[in-house]
Amino acid sequence: MKPTHVPLLMLAVSLTAHADFSYTMTQKGGDQTSKHYFKGQKMMVERGTKSTIMDFEAQTLTSIDNAAKTYTVTRFSDMANAATGMDVKADIKNTGQKKTINGYNANQVIMTMDVEMPQARQAGMKPQMEIELWVSQDVPGREELTAFYRKNGAHFPMAALGGGNNPSMQRAMAKLQQQMAELDGVVVMEVIRMKSGGGAGGPSAAQTQQMAQARARLEAMGPAGWAGRRGRAAGAGENGGGFRLRRAI
């Protein structure tokens, strides 16, 4: 690290020192629960006996196994491992649907990722992952989370998390990240669907794994963390006081 970067980093840390936020994600009808923590330039996700810490200052991802009492530290720059040969298209759409979830007024956003792979094409399939998000502006602590992402959102290792050496996946993930950053609210519920999009059989194990990895990468960013940036959310409420999605692309 260059010495001139140190004061800037210290300033960034001080500006985000109070941006603590945490929440819990629970699988409906299941037993999967994850806890998400945000502080300064770090975020952590706990699932069972496993923890993952992303440090945006150190540019590292630390994976901790609390059962085995072991850990690994990986630099963002060393995380390229995605498959090549995939063509990925991603999009986010605000449907205008509204409902109340756990007491929070929420708006529906549909995120889709279409994956084209040579194997899938041969089988006449078009694997698709659809994530239905319900976004609320009413969540307490939203400002703290917004502050976290305002400081760190641009430093997410999308090139690493979002597809490694696959340019198509990188572009798709970068686009999604940018669009999700425009969401003016906090995700209070998500429904994830894997679809084959045609063909007689389901997606191969490799395709399913690729899509699951993509989803995991997205989840690493939130989903409650997909809060809008305060500056860009200034126009929220213009459409009848409700949520709106701004496209910046």
Binding site: D20, E132, K195
Partner: protein, 41 residues
């Protein structure tokens, strides 16, 4: 409620967020616990 393409879902799961808190989180929560061993990658 599916708002995407019409193809049937092979897999579906629903996650709900809750227990939102803006309370202070100690720095130690983001530290590797003492005594843990690094693994070779």
């Amino acid at each position: 409620m599916g708002a995407g393409s019409g193809s049937a879902a092979l897999f579906e799961t629903t996650m709900e967020a809750g227990n939102f808190s803006a309370g202070a989180i100690p720095d130690s929560a983001f530290a590797i616990p003492a005594g843990y061993q690094p693994l070779d990658k």
